[in-house]
Amino acid sequence: MTTTAVKKEGPAPVAPAPTVGNHIRDYVSRVRGGDIGALPAVLGLVVLCTVFAVMRPSFLTAGNFANLFTQGAAVTLIAMGLVFVLLLGEIDLSAGFASGVCAAILANVATVLGYPWYVAVLAAIATGVVIGTTLGVLVAKIGIPSFVVTLAGFLAFQGIVLMLMDDGANISIRDQTLVAIANRNLPPVLGWSLAAAAVAGYAAVQLLRYRNRAARGLLTDPITVVAARIGALALILGVAVYILNLERSRNVLFTSLKGVPIVVPIIAILLVLWTFVLQRTSYGRHVYAVGGNSEAARRAGINVDRIRISVFVICSSMAAVGGIVAASRANSVDPNTGGSNVLLYAVGAAVIGGTSLFGGKGRVLDAVLGGAVVAVIDNGMGLMGYSSGVKYVVTGVVLLLAASVDALSRRRSAAAGTR
């Protein structure tokens, strides 16, 4: 079907008619030109899942599928914040321990001081905002390279976690709401309704945009492609919710375990929120502009320093959310929360997903896709009985692969003249 949308004699420069064939050709030529986006992450995910499913059938069970989400949640959330920092070509090495500090604050406020859960959550996120503002001001106003500032933060926050933990004793989380975040599931019906709402919302946004553009005589994506996108989302969400709603309990008489883990809608909502901010607001546009050419942004009247500070605030606040989820999952906070591999997994997730380390290119969705890859590697290799030593090496190699794909695609697009 070739849908030639109602194209009035608009002033828009003449472009090929929006047919499905053209759309696919455009995409292929973009990929060949080095603009590969999330393709490596999606392919990697498929390959990894196939390999693990063949080697260890238990990888494919509903229980393990649910585990993947709760295991990858904290890293994914931190990676979502890191995308903003990476978009400016900066880095935040302190995000891992920033999440640790925020988790420690959460535990202290909720367990030691005994405040209700929402006070603790607010305190944790406020801590993230303060950390982010401090880092951002040091980078933007004083002009210290972000690598150094956040490396200092990496060390200092590690110390702060220790101090908040009374030198090493861990604090358990007893508040049931906080524990539920990463350990409880939505009732199956609610899972289905949320999925339906998400698909309906996405369809509404896509179709409205299509109609709006077509009515003004602007070039649109073919309606077939729009419908295919909506269908794909419905399919993915439908399958995921169906599997997560299967009974996962070993002994149904003893306890029933089914439904979408509560962290999943939390990640989904934050994904939609930050995607909206980046793609549809002028703030997001300015973030891309500063990442692409900060001098051009400055001359366009954009307050570059303010953008620079704000991305660190977003990053550390998302680290706080990640810390809350990590604390919930472990039922406790210890001096190593947010430590060891958390930061590198998070940076890896963003880069594997397709966010460029050179700035100017990346989406929040990258963090989720990359987070899934990292979680699958971690989970699958665990199932195959490899030691954590091997897991680190493999994750390191995957990160290196992703970074070289990034660098090579950049070179390729420079050669193709698309950058």
Partner: protein, 273 residues
Amino acid sequence: MSATPLLELRGIDKSFGPVQVLRDVAFTAHPGEVTALVGDNGAGKSTLVKCISGIHPTDDGEFLFEGRPVSINSPRDAAALGIEVVYQDLALCDNLDIVQNMFLGREKRSGLVLDEPTMEQMAAETLAGLSVRTVKSLRQHVSSLSGGQRQTVAIAKAVLWNSKLVILDEPTAALGVAQTAQVLELVRRLADKGLAVVLISHNMNDVFAVSDRIAALYLGQMVAQVRTTDITHSQVVELITAGRSGNLGLVEAGAGSAGTATGSTDTTSGAVR
């Protein structure tokens, strides 16, 4: 030609520390005309442009815009008056598309959300109004455009805002022959639409091809501002290199027609930039 110039500068002085870069510079730009601003490296062309666009404050002198005295203290003031500058390095973001670049920093919104369809339409109309037919799609990333197309986008960005004065800093410096012709045609069309255009250029062929007036700076002094038809190629070169030519230029040779220098002919301590 129109009686009142769109922009008139009188007695502009500008020093950076001990170095006086502009001395008593007078300059006018008329609507519907291309004024070429010429001068050797370090004559003060860029400084003059930066003073007009509000990046550098002037030490002394008067700004008249449409006959009214104004003060320009920041790029925002200049933009509010309708003065737009297209810099040599274009200041485009490679990772954004044409529409996004044209509206950068001044995005149209409906509520909180960017109003993409309106922006795309306005961009298309502006480009069509400039008879630009060379870009394939408005949603192309700027990184995929040729040098001439980038220049076109930068110029279109400058005229998008109903600007009255467009200053172009060496728009053809990095372009090939065909693209130079394209851009010069565009420059001419801007003036024909009634805008005042100031064209900074080193290339005498370009200057004579499109300009209506030529203003020559020599070591920080405006030595002549004359109609292009009243001057020859070699006279302009003399003005640029020696500061005077026949009865034009610095007062040593008698009364200059446009350049009334401060009287001092000691120009060796003049501008460095």
